[in-house]
Assembly symmetry: C2
Homo-oligomer: 596 residues x 2
C-alpha cells in the first residue's frame, strides 16, 4: 500500500540548515558538491530507492537468502538490483577518485545512504560492509594491495566483508582464536571459524574480499595480539584475473528475526590446508584498524536507524490517512484515524524522533568532512573530537530510537500491524539487530563513559555540552510558547547532563562498577539532549526563514511544531535519565549473582 519516498525536502533542510552543507562544499576538494549537483544526486538516489530497492524489500523478507552446497542464493531480484546499483555508481559515492570513486563529501553520501536503509536495509548492508573494507584498505593497505584490490571494490565488481566475531568472541574480541601462519612468500595461511559474517557469501559478484582478524603464532594474548588479514574468496593472478578458489567457505547461514535478505554467514577458513591471506598494516595492530572502520560502521548503523524510522513513519502515515474508523473526538463525522488524538501523538512521536535522528547524523557527518578536509588544523582536530564523541550517541541513541519508532509504527496499524502482509512488522523485526551489531548499546554506553568522557578528563564532553548550550541564546530571542517551551526543556536537559557528567567524573574511580551501571541511561540522556539540540536548531532556522519571508510557511511551521513536540514529549525524559545515573548503580549491583 505504502511505498518509500525519499524525504528530499526534509533531507535538504537538514543538509542546509543543520549540517550547513554550503560550508562543506567550500572545503578544498569538495568543489563539485554544488547545491545543484547535490540536488541532482539526491533526486536520482531517491528514484533508485523507490523504484528498485523498495519493491524488493518484502520479497527479501519472505524469500530471504538461501544456502545450498556452500552457495548462497540471494532473494529474487537482489542480484539484478545490485548490478544496477553499482552500474549507477552508487557504490563509489564517497570513495577516493584515485581508485574510481566519486569523492563526494561524507555529508552528501550520508543523505544518500539513508535512502538505501529506508528502502531496503538488508540490501544496503552489502555496500555498507564493502565500504568498511575499502576504508580499511585505504587506511592501512600497501600501495600494491590498494592497486590490486581497491578498483574492483570501489566499482562494486567485488564486495567486502568484516570478519571479527567467533563463537567464543563476540563483544570480547580479546578471546578470538583464528590463526594466521606466515609463509615464506610473505603471505599467511588463515585458519578459524567466524560467525555473524554479513554477506560472507553471495551470488552478486565473482569475488569477495574478506577482512579477517586473526593471531600470528608469536602474537601476545588478548587484544594486543590481533592482526588484520585480507583473504579473498578467489586469489588474484599477477595479471589481475581471478585465480584459484581460496580455502574458505560459508558453512551455514542464520535463521534470523529480520533482515532476511542479508545472509548472515558462518565462515570457515582453512579446512583444507589454510586460506591464503595477506596482512593489512602492521602485525598486532589489527584491532586498532578494525576500530577505525568500526567507528564508521557504527555511524552507518545509526543511520540505518534513521532510514528505517523514516520508512516506518511513512507507512504509518499512509495507513492512518487511509483507514477510516470511528468519529474522532471533536469531529462531526467519521474520518480517517489520523484524526484521533492518540494516533496523532504516535505519528508526531515517530516524526520527531526521525527528524532528530536525521539532524544529528547529518551534523556528525558534516564534522567528518570538516575533520577530513578543513584547511585549519585546529578546526580539523575539534571536528574530529566532536565526531568521535558523537559516534556512540549516534549508534546507540538512533538505533534505540528506531526500535521505538518501528514499534509505534506497528501500533498505529492496530491489529493489521501484527499481520505480516501489512509490512509494518518487517520494519520492527529488521530494526531489532541495530542495537546489537557493531557493538551493543551497552558497549556504546561504556565507550561514551569510558573512552569518550573519562579518558580526557571530561574535556570533550564539556566542550560538546557548551556548544549545545549556545542554543539557549538563540531560543531566548524568539517569541512564543513553542520557543519558551524548547528553552525550558533544553535548560533542564543540559542541567541533567551536567549533573550526570559530574557524578560520572567524581565516582568513576571509587565506584567504577556503579558508574558503568549507568552507562546506557547516560547515553540515552546525551541522545535526547542532542536530539533536542538539533530540533531546536531546526526550529530556530525555520523561524529565521519565516521572518525572511520564505513562502514555504507550512513546511517551516511544521519544523517548529515538531521541535516543540520533541521538547515536551521526549526531551522531558532527561531528568529521569540523569536520576538513573546519579546513585542508580547501587540497586543495579546489590543482588548476588545467585539471586537472579
Amino acid at each position: 500500500m505504502s511505498t518509500y519516498t525519499a524525504p528530499l525536502k526534509d533531507m535538504q533542510f537538514a543538509l542546509h540548515e543543520l549540517a550547513q552543507i554550503d560550508q562543506i562544499a567550500a572545503l578544498p576538494g569538495n568543489e563539485e558538491a554544488s547545491p545543484d549537483v547535490v540536488s541532482a544526486i539526491l533526486e536520482e538516489a531517491g528514484k533508485f530507492a523507490s523504484g528498485v530497492l523498495d519493491p524488493l524489500n518484502r520479497v527479501g523478507d519472505t524469500q530471504g537468502a538461501k544456502l545450498a552446497d556452500g552457495k548462497v542464493t540471494t532473494a529474487p531480484g537482489f542480484k539484478e538490483a545490485y548490478r544496477q546499483f553499482v552500474e549507477s555508481g552508487w557504490n563509489a559515492l564517497k570513495c577516493d577518485p584515485n581508485y574510481g570513486g566519486q569523492g563526494l563529501p561524507y555529508t552528501v553520501a550520508t543523505a544518500v545512504e539513508e535512502m538505501w536503509h529506508g528502502s531496503n536495509v538488508a540490501f544496503a548492508l552489502c555496500p555498507l560492509l564493502t565500504t568498511g573494507a575499502i576504508e580499511a584498505l585505504m587506511l592501512c593497505g600497501t600501495p600494491e594491495q590498494k592497486e590490486k584490490f581497491l578498483p574492483n571494490m570501489v566499482s562494486g565488481k567485488w564486495t567486502g566483508t568484516m570478519n571479527l566475531t567467533e563463537p567464543q568472541a563476540g563483544s570480547d574480541l580479546a578471546a578470538l582464536r583464528s590463526r594466521a601462519v606466515p609463509q615464506t612468500d610473505g603471505s599467511y595461511r588463515v585458519f578459524g571459524q567466524k560467525i555473524f559474517i554479513t554477506f560472507g557469501e553471495q551470488d552478486y559478484t565473482e569475488n569477495i574480499i574478506h577482512l579477517v582478524l586473526a593471531r600470528t603464532p608469536t602474537a601476545p594474548e588478548g587484544v594486543k595480539g590481533i592482526s588484520l588479514f585480507l583473504v579473498p574468496k578467489f586469489l588474484i593472478n599477477e595479471d589481475g584475473s581471478l585465480g584459484e578458489r581460496n580455502d574458505l567457505q560459508c558453512v551455514s547461514i542464520e535463521h534470523k528475526l529480520g533482515i532476511h535478505a542479508s545472509p548472515t554467514c558462518v565462515m570457515s577458513y582453512g579446512d583444507r590446508g589454510g586460506a591464503v591471506g595477506y596482512m593489512i598494516g602492521d602485525e598486532n595492530r589489527g584491532l586498532e584498524y578494525m576500530f577505525i572502520m568500526m567507528n564508521l560502521a557504527r555511524f552507518s548503523v545509526g543511520l540505518e536507524g534513521v532510514g528505517i524510522s523514516e520508512r516506518a513513519y511513512q507507512r504509518a502515515v499512509a495507513y492512518a490517512r487511509d483507514r477510516v474508523q470511528g468519529k474522532a473526538l471533536g469531529d462531526q463525522q467519521k474520518g480517517a484515524i489520523i484524526r484521533h488524538p492518540d494516533i496523532r501523538r504516535m505519528l508526531m512521536d515517530m516524526r520527531a524522533h526521525t527528524e532528530a535522528m536525521r539532524g544529528l547524523t547529518y551534523v556528525v557527518a558534516a564534522a567528518f568532512d570538516h575533520a577530513h578536509s578543513h584547511p585549519d588544523e585546529a578546526t580539523r582536530k575539534q571536528s574530529l573530537a566532536f565526531a568521535d564523541y558523537m559516534i556512540p550517541i549516534v549508534k546507540g541513541w538512533c538505533t534505540e530510537s528506531a526500535q521505538h519508532v518501528t514499534y509505534v509504527g506497528v501500533q498505529v496499524h492496530g491489529g493489521m500491524g501484527f499481520i505480516e502482509e501489512t509490512g509494518a512488522a518487517q520494519h520492527y523485526r529488521d530494526a531489532r539487530i541495530m542495537t546489537i551489531y557493531e557493538g551493543t548499546t551497552g558497549i556504546q554506553g561504556n565507550d561514551l563513559i569510558g573512552r569518550k568522557t573519562l579518558r580526557d578528563g571530561g574535556r570533550t564532553a564539556a566542550a560538546v555540552g557548551m556548544e549545545i548550550a549556545r542554543i539557549d541564546d538563540e531560543l531566548a530571542q524568539l517569541p512564543g510558547e513553542a520557543f519558551a517551551s524548547m528553552r525550558k526543556a533544553m535548560g533542564a536537559a543540559l542541567n541533567a547532563v551536567k549533573t550526570a557528567g559530574e557524578y560520572v567524573a567524581a565516582n568513576a574511580q571509587s565506584d567504577t562498577r556503579g558508574v558503568f551501571a549507568g552507562a546506557v541511561p547516560y547515553l540515552e540522556l546525551w541522545g535526547v539532549l542532542c536530539g533536542g539540540w538539533v530540533m531546536a536548531r531546526a526550529a530556530v532556522a525555520a523561524s529565521r526563514l519565516l521572518a525572511a519571508g520564505d513562502p514555504d510557511r507550512e513546511f517551516l511551521e511544521a519544523k517548529i511544531i515538531t521541535a516543540r513536540y520533541f521538547a515536551e514529549h521526549i526531551l522531558v525524559k532527561a531528568p529521569g535519565l540523569a536520576r538513573e545515573v546519579v546513585g542508580g548503580g547501587a540497586s543495579v549491583l546489590a543482588l548476588a549473582d545467585e539471586a537472579f
Copy 2:
C-alpha cells in the same frame, strides 16, 4: 537451553503479602482456598506448565496452525496438550461449581493463568477465550442456555470464541454490519464476516461455541443496536448430542508476527442460508455484555504481559549465567556476562518490571474477589470501583511493559538474541500483539481518562491515589537509603499523578482533544505509580518479615533491592510523563493532517 520454571516463591509472596490471600480465603464461598490447597494447585500447575506447555512453545512458533479445506490443524502436540489440560481440570478453575467448575477465587486462578501465559501464551489463548464465553453465558444466558452449553464449555469438551471485529469495524464497533434475522422458532439466522477470531476454528474439540455480535433488522444504528448471539459450530440436538453442522466456516487464517500456534481466523457466517444463532440476554444490549467480558479479557491480556515477561527474564538470566565473555569491570578474571554492570542493569530492569506487574495484577484480582464475595456491600462496591479503575492500567501498562521486557530479553543475548533458535525473539514477537488486541493502549488510555477518571468527576481516581499515598507513612518509618529512595520517588510520582489528574479534570471540557492527546502518557504515569506502589509494599512486607526473624533473608532482601531499583530507574519517569500530559496536547495536535 532455558526451560520455564513457575516462579512459585515469588507468586506465593505476591499472593500472601500483596493480594492478601488469607483475607480472600476467609470470604464466603472461598473456604476451600486454604494455604495448603493453594500451594498444591500452584505446584501442580507449575509442573503442567514446565512439563507439557513449555516444550511445545517453540514448535508452536515454527509449525504454527495451518488451514486446509476449512479445517485448522494446530501445531504438533497442541491437541494432546489441550486434552491433558482439560482432563486435569485446569479449564474449570474459577468456573461455577454448579456447572462443573472448581469455583476457586479469582486470585488463585490468576496466579495459575500466569503460568500458562509464561510457558505458552499461544496455547493459553484458547482457554482464555472459552472463559470469556462462559462468563458471558453465566451473566446473560437463560437457564436453558446455561444448561445446554455451560457444562461442556466448563469441562473444556467445547471451546468458546468472541466474534467482534469486522474488516470495517475494529476499535469502532459501532460500524459493525453482521446481521441476525429472527426466525419463527425464536432463533436467528446470522450473516456476516468476522476477522481476528482467535481459535475460531481448531482440531481440539468436537464443537466450538461462537459468541457473535450482530444487528437485528429493527436495531438502531451505532453501538445501541448491537445484540449478542450464541452460534455453535454444530447445533445441539434435544438430547444433547451433536446435530447438524451450522452455516459458518473459517475461510482463512492470518500470517502473523507471533503467537503462530494460535489460529487467527476469518469467520464467515451465513454463506448458505444463515447460521443458526440464539440471542444471549436482551436485544440491543450486546455491546454492554461484551464489555463486561472484555473487562475480564483485558485483565487476562495484562496477565499475558506478566507471564511472557517472566519467561523472557528467566531465559535472559539463564543465558547471562552461561555465556562467558570478557572480564567484567572490577573482576579479576573472565566470567559470565551476568557480571557486567550493564547486563545486570538489564536483568534488574526485567525483574523489577515483572515483579511490579505481577504484584499489580494479583492485587487487582484480589479486588475482583472482594467485589464478588465480600459480605459487606460497601466493601464490594469499593473493590469493584478499584478494580474497574485498574483494568485499563493492568491491560495498558503491563502489556507495554512486556514489550520492554521482551525487548531487553533479546538485548541480553546480544547477537544470539536475533537468531530465532535462541528463543528470545519469539517472546518479543509473541508479546507484540498484547498492546493491540482487546483494545489498544490508546483505547485503554481513553478509557482511563474518559470513563474511569472523568465520568465520576475524578472521585475514584482520587480515592485510588489516596489509597496509594498511604504507603508514605510506612516507608517513612523504615530506616536506610533504600526506603528513603522509594519514599522520595513515590512522593514525586504521586505529585506527578496529582498534577496530571488536575490538568485533565480542569481542561477536559475546554480542550478535549488536547487532554485525550495525553491519554497514553497519563496511563503510563498511573502504571509506573501503581508499579512503584506494589513494589514498595513488597519491600515493606519483606522488611517486616526480616525484622520478625524470617530465615529466608536473601529472598526478602532481594525484594527490597528490586523495589529500590524500580523506584530509582522506573518510577523516576513519572514527572516526565506528567509533563507530557500537562499542556502537551498543543504540539500533538498543531500539525495539519496534510502536513504529516
